[in-house]
């Protein structure tokens, strides 16, 4: 009888030790756990793409807005009436410095996105980037801008909401270039004629009229196709006239003051 009493504590002790020291990992066990880890790795990538990139991008875009408040004041040319190329915009697409803001009321009353040059990693910060082939506002031809659909601020997420006739306002140091949407369509990534000087008439070789083209990816979350918007210049509003009513709420105060 006495021996059972002495064995119990031993068994209990052994069970406690087993709990602290797990069995050595087996090949199958390690493989399984690595597969689960790989799944989490992919899941986290989605979190990064849809959430993390937007955080940093919106911060950077805000820094661009602040920077433009200063450069706009220095670049403003009193008396510019929109006839001829806008002197505040770089003649050649070179650096990543922002030179404009795009307002699209259809995308929301507060929608304002900095515009800068370049379509590489320059656009990885809630901005729109100007294609190298693009002229300045005020010049005949096709000013094309690229923007992300679902990452980095997702600036063109709502492009499918745009309707013919919707206005877009491109602000520079000198005023607002007002464009009216003429066409929203989906093309293959290789259909570069959307960047042609007269985008809705690919046979035209000479620039005719002033166009604004936006490109983004489509369908969302893929790189299969591109969604394209073409808009045509209808008006120029000098800075001194104040912001057009439709975007009055979206224009940051510091970009309002005339130099």
């Amino acid at each position: 009888m006495s021996h059972t009493g002495s064995r119990l504590p031993t068994r209990r002790r052994r069970r406690a030790t087993e709990k602290r020291r797990p069995p050595r990992p087996t090949f199958l066990g390690v493989t399984g756990e690595l597969l689960i880890t790989a799944g989490l790795f992919v899941l986290l990538f989605v979190v990064w793409e849809l959430y993390w990139t937007n955080l940093g991008a919106n911060r950077e875009a805000q820094a661009h807005r602040d920077a433009m408040a200063d450069t706009f004041e220095a670049q403003h040319e009193a008396g510019f009436d929109g006839s001829g190329p806008d002197p505040s915009v770089p003649d050649e697409v070179t650096t990543g410095d922002p030179w404009g803001m795009l307002y699209v009321p259809r995308f929301g009353p507060d929608y304002s996105v900095p515009v800068l040059d370049g379509t590489g990693d320059e656009i990885d910060s809630a901005v729109l980037g100007r294609y190298e082939s693009s002229p300045r506002p005020g010049e005949d031809g096709n000013l094309a801008l690229a923007g992300h659909r679902q990452t980095y601020g997702a600036v063109l997420w709502d492009m499918d909401q745009l309707q013919d006739g919707d206005r877009m306002y491109l602000q520079t140091a000198n005023g607002w270039w007002v464009y009216e949407t003429r066409q929203v369509h989906i093309v293959q990534p290789t259909d570069v004629e959307v960047l042609a000087p007269k985008p809705m008439d690919p046979t035209a070789t000479e620039p005719e009229g002033q166009w604004l083209t936006l490109t983004t990816c489509h369908p969302p979350y893929t790189v299969l196709e591109r969604m394209i918007t073409h808009a045509e210049l209808v008006e120029f509003v000098p800075l001194g006239d104040g912001a057009p009513d439709e975007i009055a709420g979206a224009v940051p105060d510091q970009l309002f003051e005339e130099a």
Partner: protein, 53 residues
Amino acid sequence: MYAWLFHLLPGPTWFRWILTLVGLAAVVFVLMEYVYPWVAEFGFFSDATMDVD
């Protein structure tokens, strides 16, 4: 494997949990800041530009 690694950590259980959480946070941060931006450069998921050369 993870149970085994957890067992290898020093200190009492509550300390091991803290180590684990700190380690996980570090891994997630490195993924978010360095690994995923690098992966994204291959452009599987997001490309807003036309294929101009």
